[in-house]
Amino acid sequence: GSQDAKAPAANKLMVGMVTDSGTIDDRSFNQGTWEGLVKAGKDFGFSPKYLRPAGTTQADYDKEITNLHDAGYTLIVTPGFKFENSIYTAQERYADTKFVLIDGVPHPGSDYSKIKVGKNTVSINFAEHEAGFLAGVAAALQIKHGDFGFIGGMEIPAVQRYNWGFQQGVKYANANLGTSISLKAENVIYQGTFNDVAAGQQIAAQMYDRGVTVIFAAAGGVGVGVINEAVSRTKAGKQVWVVGVDVDQYAQGYYDSAKTKSVILTSAMKYVDQASYDMVKSVKEGNFPGGQTLTFNAKNNGIGIPAKNPNLSDDVAAKVAEVFKKLQSGAIQVSDKGDGLIK
């Protein structure tokens, strides 16, 4: 039929993405990546395509990359560290195709000494720890005293960095900004999945019952459970908070019918959509930074907290903005390692 793809038109962009185990609606980096591509598609006049691998092994990923390549796609975007091996081989095999690897660096096997970013590949990393740090500072400043908690999904690098950054942020606020927030070991938990909503809710309930007032949830569907629990409690008159992750989750935490008030105190964000958009744009403009590893961090505004945080006072927002500046200038350094921190 007419709607089926024809051979690639000469100057038309053919942009595809392969999702990892999540879907393009995961409100996390799969969705972010996809939204960036869709936006780019609108701006530059092409319709992006996504494929969903059948499993989570390298072979599954490779297959979909091959499918996109064989179908004539010239820019392939893959979100997630699970693609590191696939891109490592694909970038050589399909030298005529450009690759963007988000949240990882191409290397063979489990061997990180052989990292190789091909001429046709851009590897993008985010400083999640800086985002977590900012969110931690903001939450601490707003709440001032009390207990915080962290609920992660699986113990993967990005989630860990959020956790470590968050802890450092709270510590920083306690040390420098006059807050007294505690983060007890028992309140730092990796639930173990990204989809067990019920567990998220139940664990959050336990923490809130123990007096925790703010939970940083970096856990996909598990986080949805956490937000639900916070909404329930807040509706019942016991205000508690959640710090969102990846994107601005404010709208997910509404607890009034007018949909203005939310339990989302703030969110630790990384601008994946921006990254994928930028990459398409660079191809369009002929300055694709092939061979480079880009880090999206405070310095280049690749991470942050939402521009508008209705639950943060102006005063807090101002202070956080200062901290952000210090991050940008390098006056504050956030470690991306867990040394000396909880879990």
């Binding site: 996504y50 494929l51 691998p53 499993g55 390298q58 489990s110």
Partner: protein, 359 residues
């Protein structure tokens, strides 16, 4: 006698082919309904699975674990048991094979042999308990194998990072070349595909299971237990032993399937996911009419669909979810159309009955 055997096989094959054809027609209707051209859709679906050596190899590699889980489910079925636990058995088998592969340093043939042994034995052991519970305490195997799936899931979940942590918490280290079922000559033959020695293991398993079921006293006993436990007991066949044994064999098959998945198709074991081949195995077994060669054919068919799906997505406007739905539709219709023949007969008879009693 030989002739009759051949005829029977032929009839089975015809029914299977008809079933698949009907499934494909149903899938086509579905594609048309969602505004895509079935012809292009199928063109790319099958091209994606079969258009070059590499893709054929990948299709075979995709089918390999399915052959094992299909056999596992079918074998249990034949002995009256519903093994819904192939996924867990795969995980355990795959994990143990990986563990051996990552721990021992031996020449490839020896290492692979040991890994096969580890996968078989561990898969078998994992299924032994549900079998024993069934035989001794009458615990329904559907429930117990579901429970064992989740236990396997969490055991592997914590064991992998604890003992074999790779780059990340979520997967094991990559297995060395010597521990992989992949071999250079096959990769070369199939233009760099993932096809691996697993397919030969699968073929051997099909032959072995067909042989056990049809030609051996063991198969005779197990089938008897499956059909009528009381009669088997009466004849002096130890039914409890049969149930346990049958689960063990089913588990061994699934365990081996796990090895072909994690040490052949993949190069490491991932946590946090029950392999989908476990449930797919049920469909494979049923489409294959629970006969070993039927399973083999059905698994190849599934393999083609699964591995061609992405190419169809890439070349047409059919999104991945629709591709999944189409595959499920094909399975539904293929599986039920084995019976449509019967249904039509029934309708005919009803009509005829009505006519003749009128006249």
């Amino acid at each position: 006698m030989k002739l009759r055997f051949k005829l029977e096989v032929k009839k089975e094959a015809v029914v299977l082919l008809l079933a698949i054809l009907l499934g494909l027609i149903a899938g086509a209707v579905f594609m048309a309904l969602t505004g895509s051209s079935p012809i292009t859709g199928y063109e790319f679906l099958f091209k994606g699975g079969l258009m070059n050596l590499e893709r054929i190899g990948n299709t075979l590699a995709t089918a390999t674990p399915l052959i094992f889980t299909g056999l596992s489910v079918a074998f249990a079925f034949r002995t009256g048991l519903f093994n819904i636990g192939a996924a867990g058995q795969m995980l355990i088998g795959g994990f143990c094979a990986t563990a051996v592969g990552l721990t021992l340093n031996l020449p490839k043939p020896m290492l692979l042999t040991l890994m096969v042994l580890a996968a078989t034995v561990s898969g078998a052991l994992w299924a032994t308990l549900p079998g024993y519970f069934k035989a001794r305490f009458n615990v329904h195997e559907v429930v117990s194998t579901i429970m064992f799936n989740w236990i396997a899931y969490w055991v592997v979940y914590y064991a992998v990072p604890a003992y074999f942590k790779g780059a990340f918490e979520t997967e094991s280290r990559y297995i060395p070349n010597d521990a992989s079922l992949r071999v250079d000559w096959m990769a070369k033959l199939f233009d760099g595909s993932y096809i691996n020695l697993g397919i030969f293991l699968a073929l051997a398993a099909v032959i072995l299971i067909a042989f056990i079921l049809n030609k051996t006293t063991l198969g005779y006993e197990l089938k008897a237990v499956g059909f009528n436990r009381f009669a088997a007991e009466y004849a002096g066949i130890n039914a409890n032993r049969g149930i346990v044994l049958s689960m063990m064999i089913a588990g061994a098959l699934a365990g081996l399937g796990g090895m072909t998945l994690y040490c052949g198709y993949a190069t490491s074991i991932q946590i946090g996911i029950l392999p989908s081949q476990g449930i797919d195995g049920i469909a494979v077994a049923l489409l294959g009419a629970n006969s070993p060669w039927g399973v083999f054919a059905a698994a190849l068919f599934f393999g083609t669909l699964y591995s061609g799906k992405g190419f169809m997505n890439a070349m047409t406007n059919i999104p991945p979810e629709i591709a999944d739905t189409i595959i499920a539709t094909i399975i539904y219709f293929a599986a039920t159309s084995v019976l449509i023949e019967k249904f039509v007969d029934k309708m005919k008879r009803r009509l005829k009955g009505a006519n003749s009693s009128c006249g």
